[in-house]
Point group: C2
Chain length 401, copies 2
């Protein structure tokens, strides 16, 4: 089954607006094995919208419209669908009752305009909207489906979960979906792809998706089969050789980000960490403490932006070059000592200027203190992000060894 999605509303066509509903719907539909083959955003123009709906209805077995179901003249979706499908509409007493109840709950009275929201395509099911006044609609004809959903995500998402997914599932052949995740730190996307493409490109099932951020890559395998055993067997057939090729660069097999992996390892060992940062200015501490409960294993940190603070807070010997292996070593050792933690990470480097990307990371452990030099490319933000990843991944390896 193929789907097309049409979002309605001129307000969706500004330079900063992203149609997140279509992304959510794509995610949900893909999980059912339904592919989205086209999507559009159409402004408030009845004729244009009618043409777009007619076009989608001619091409796809499932057409989903989002938005344009409000009570005003500008809300064109119902009328445009009726025109495109050449189907009449009838006011639904049930929908009107739901609107009355909702307004009553808030001590208000609906206007005559709200009557427009009760118009349901002849032959369509009215889909209740517990979070708003606009009901959804499910129209099924000759094996093809057209769905109308309200635009606000907090109304749309529950309706998709409660009404759309079950109805679609009932139409599709029974299947089981199983997934595997590999999260990989500090490999280039093209290097990684070059390594594993010979394996995954031979298979369409499981489907392999690779999402890359700076230094951080998600590999997602999704197998669709009639039984769980078949799906797991396929995942092993493709996933095991991939995992073997990438080796210990894989830091997570359940989708956890690196700071969660490190936090779980520290918690499991009952150990703690501290940080000493100059160039990253708190970003490493922020990342570690972005997880609820991180106070169990994060002792604290030292943001030493001046030589004087490095010496005073961390005992870095006076005269030590601010960006140097010696500084990174002394910072890590000083942070571990003064925070009385089991581990400490340190960062010193240049995020911009002539030596941008020239960075030292230090790691103090119960058995010794080490430092590494990094050469990173990119702007200030990217250099800081890659540094954090390097530091956390080094700690992850130390905790796992």
């Amino acid at each position: 089954m193929n789907a097309e999605i049409i979002a309605v509303g001129s307000e969706m066509l500004t330079p900063d607006k992203v149609d997140t509903n279509s992304l959510h719907l794509t995610q949900e539909l893909n999980t059912l094995g339904i592919e989205v083959v086209a999507k559009a955003i159409i402004g408030d123009d009845r004729q244009r919208l009618t043409d777009a709906i007619r076009n989608s209805w001619a091409h796809a077995e499932l057409v989903i419209l989002t938005g344009g179901l409000g009570p005003t003249e500008d809300d064109l979706t119902r009328d445009a669908v009726a025109a495109a499908l050449e189907v009449g509409m009838t006011p639904s007493e049930e929908a009107w009752q739901a609107i009355l109840n909702r307004f009553q709950k808030f001590g208000r009275t609906p206007t005559e305009n709200n009557r427009r929201q009760t118009l349901i395509l002849n032959g369509a099911d009215m889909l209740p909207n517990p979070n708003g006044t606009a009901p959804g609609q499910w129209f099924h004809r000759d094996g093809r489906v057209l769905v109308l959903l309200p635009g606000p995500p907090r109304e749309l998402k529950p309706m998709v979960a409660a009404e759309i997914i079950p109805r679609l599932t009932a139409m599709l052949p029974p299947q089981v979906i199983r997934t595997r995740w590999y999260r990989v730190a500090l490999m280039g996307e093209s290097d990684l792809d070059h390594l594993i493409a010979p394996i995954y490109t031979k298979y369409t099932n499981p489907a392999t998706t690779i999402l890359a951020a700076a230094g951080d890559i998600d590999i997602h395998l999704r197998a669709r089969c009639e039984t769980a055993e078949e799906a797991e067997a396929l995942l092993a057939e493709v996933g095991d050789p991939i995992a073997e090729l990438i080796g210990d660069k894989i830091y997570s097999t359940n989708g956890d980000p690196l700071e969660v992996v490190v936090g779980k390892l520290l918690r499991a060992k009952g150990q703690t960490v501290a940080v000493a940062e100059s160039m990253t200015g708190g970003m490493l501490g922020m990342q570690i403490t972005s997880i609820a409960g991180s106070s169990d294993y994060f002792k604290g940190g030292f943001l030493t932006y001046t030589d004087q603070m490095k010496t005073q807070l961390l005992g870095v010997p006076e005269g030590t070059e601010a960006v140097s292996e010696e500084a990174a070593l002394a910072m890590a050792a000083g942070a571990r000592d003064r925070a009385q933690s089991d581990y400490a990470l340190s960062v010193t480097g240049f995020a911009d200027g002539p030596n941008a990307g020239h960075v030292f990371v230090g790691l103090a452990t119960p058995t010794g203190t080490h430092a590494r030099k990094l050469k990173l490319n990119g702007d200030r933000y990217r250099v800081r992000c890659l540094t954090i990843l390097n530091a956390l991944d080094w700690l992850r390896r130390a905790l796992q060894s």
Copy 2:
């Protein structure tokens, strides 16, 4: 002039892919006064794409296609446009020469497939692509324009700037655009809109855009007139009363984010700041140091996640409640003292759990130390972001007073 944008490629229809090209184009077109009335993403299906192009060409004066200009069979844009417009194509010797030169530069040889990329619609201008092999195309017929652009943003954006904007500008009546920005901290979006909507909704010129993030709102006015004087007069007519209503909640009138405003104020006074963070774990330091050159005014900070670190590093008296006014005061005073800075900000609070959003912020200045209690709503990330904004805005006001 109205525009429609069509992005081509099945890879754009995944749950996590955002068509950033269309956002960039919308921004650029809006600046010229061209409105985007519809946009679509079409997968790799020749017939579907041809229908979509025909539909857009029938409705809009400007149709822009992005992507699908590669050398492979899957790259359907050229063929689909030729079919939709019923126009033939001719290989361009100039385009082929550009491809040969490009490959030569990298020591490689083009394949016969690359010949497909030299096919130009009869009557269209070939648009050179200094950053890739796919040339763009500009097709102009009966006052309507259709444009083909390469998909990679680093190829598309320079081509838009060098080829598309100048050609469109030449087609449009002469006009001058002037803008005003107001950035506002710590007002709710609906409160702000309630306050200023009576003013700005009376005008379509200047156009007013309001962008809201958590606690941080951008108001953008854009006036389009025949002369700069007219445009400035309109901006003053609408902007001045808006600025008066919002008052000193406006922290920036040039688009600068709060950390830049604070940094410029500190630099201008030759003064410095330090931070002491528990709940935010480094986020405040990270925000201040996200600006190149911040080492001129940021001395450093203390991430005190344990009571012991608060006492040892900042001199917070033993037995002080970790989340309290006393703690915030002692942390700010201790940070200012030990970092030898002119100002210090402190944060202590709960980002989740039963007391989530219960936060104290402290500010130490050359003339005294103060603390404030905040009650914030939202998840861990939002509470941390709102706390940072409160702290930085307080420092901004102290520096401006």
